[in-house]
């Protein structure tokens, strides 16, 4: 799910080389374009890696670790997770206007996704205070939520509400940051 196109690097290079100016003239919002581009690439990768990953797991454990029902019901949360991750990537990419080199932020985001999303160590192993802290970040909704549904576990309705809440917040942050960038942009004296 976190195998997305190099959105952060692309946006950083667009901003650095001022190629973004060509996009600003297009009749489509740059952020919307990047969201669609990122989602499209990520969904393709997700589909391929789902098959590949399942084959690997069945090779190791001797059985495919999901049912048709759990697979079907985890598709929407997985897409939502990809959406959240794409938005975070765009925010990091846009911040290169102020910070210039955001590669370390990109890797920090990846690490945070691994740690707070429960990829390295399951979140249930964390102490309660850390679990609460994780739930206040967007990362469990990127990885933990779809993974739990995929493996047949149950999640509360509050988890979905939190995911939707984060999506709205990140959407707002993305477009606000882009507008701020557009207002601050001065090129060739104009």
């Amino acid at each position: 799910m976190i195998s997305t196109s190099p959105l952060v690097i692309e946006i950083m290079q667009d901003i650095r080389s001022q190629k973004i100016l060509y996009h600003l003239m297009h009749p489509i919002n740059y952020c919307t374009m990047k969201i669609c581009e990122g989602m499209g690439a990520a969904f393709f990768r997700f589909s391929v890696l789902l098959i590949w990953g399942s084959l690997w797991v069945s090779f190791i454990h001797g059985h495919i670790p999901f049912t048709t029902l759990s697979l079907a019901s985890s598709i929407i949360p997985a897409l939502f997770g990809i959406f959240l991750y794409t938005l975070i990537s765009i925010i990091i990419g846009l911040s290169s206007f102020w910070i210039r080199d955001v590669k370390t932020l990109l890797y920090m985001n990846l690490t945070a996704t691994f740690c707070f999303g429960g990829l390295i160590v399951p979140i249930s192993f964390y102490p309660p205070i850390m679990q609460t802290f994780c739930s206040f970040t967007p990362y469990p909704w990127i990885l933990w939520l779809p993974a739990t549904i995929f493996s047949g576990g149950s999640v509360s309705i509050g988890a979905f509400a939190a995911a939707i809440g984060w999506a709205l917040l990140l959407l707002y942050a993305t477009y606000s940051l882009f507008n701020l960038y557009r207002n601050r942009l001065i090129t060739e004296g104009g």
């Binding site: 102020w98 210039r100 192993f125």
Partner: protein, 254 residues
Amino acid sequence: MFIKKALQTQVKLNVILKLSFLVKVLSIFLKQGLFLVTWSFFFYKYGEVDGWTFRELIAMYGIISFGVGTVEMFFYGVREIPMYVETNQIDNFLLQPRNVLLNIALSKGDVVAFSEIVYGLILMGLSGYMTKGYMLYFLLPLSPLFIFSLFLYLSSVSFYMQNSFGFVRELYQNANIVATQPASAYRGFFKVITLTVLPTAYISFFPIESLRLHAYKSLLISYAGALTFFLIACLFFYRGLRQYESSSTISYKY
């Protein structure tokens, strides 16, 4: 003289943007801290993984951080090879009467990576192995050598595949994941992979075994593996360089 000038330029380039510098340093500390905090929960629950405790994990992170920091500080150019290939910037290096690999490696440096070196040393100190014998000191030169080879090996893939910038980036991430897990847990097929295709065992498994068991044999295997890997990575790079073609496309440097 060339190396000195290249490094001086990199220091000036990195420090000139203060906010960027500060964010980078903070990100590095946060990134590494997060990994360790997460693993501490695991070891708190299970105690050890095949003889490896949290102490060994800290030592492993310390060694890898030290290596990554040293290479990124002085030879960040090796990580940029996919970008150079994609934007035809290799031409700029081929035209100069210097060693191509060294020239590319020194073309970029990341002064912020100094914090990663410091972090690595702190972790090695916390692991307790710094004061327990001198084995750890033997491992210090090994770490940058291996990490340099790893970056070169993975970056050279871009010579053989078109538009592989994203793919190589994913390879880095996956290599990082494989290298920073408790390597003692790898068995069978995965162990073969960490000894051959992605030989991270020479930076994680063998060095830590040499520390843990005070085994010189593991230390020798680490060095032999890292040196062989370095030679293979160089061969892979030069073979790939022969396939490089830019059709004399005009390129510009970022």
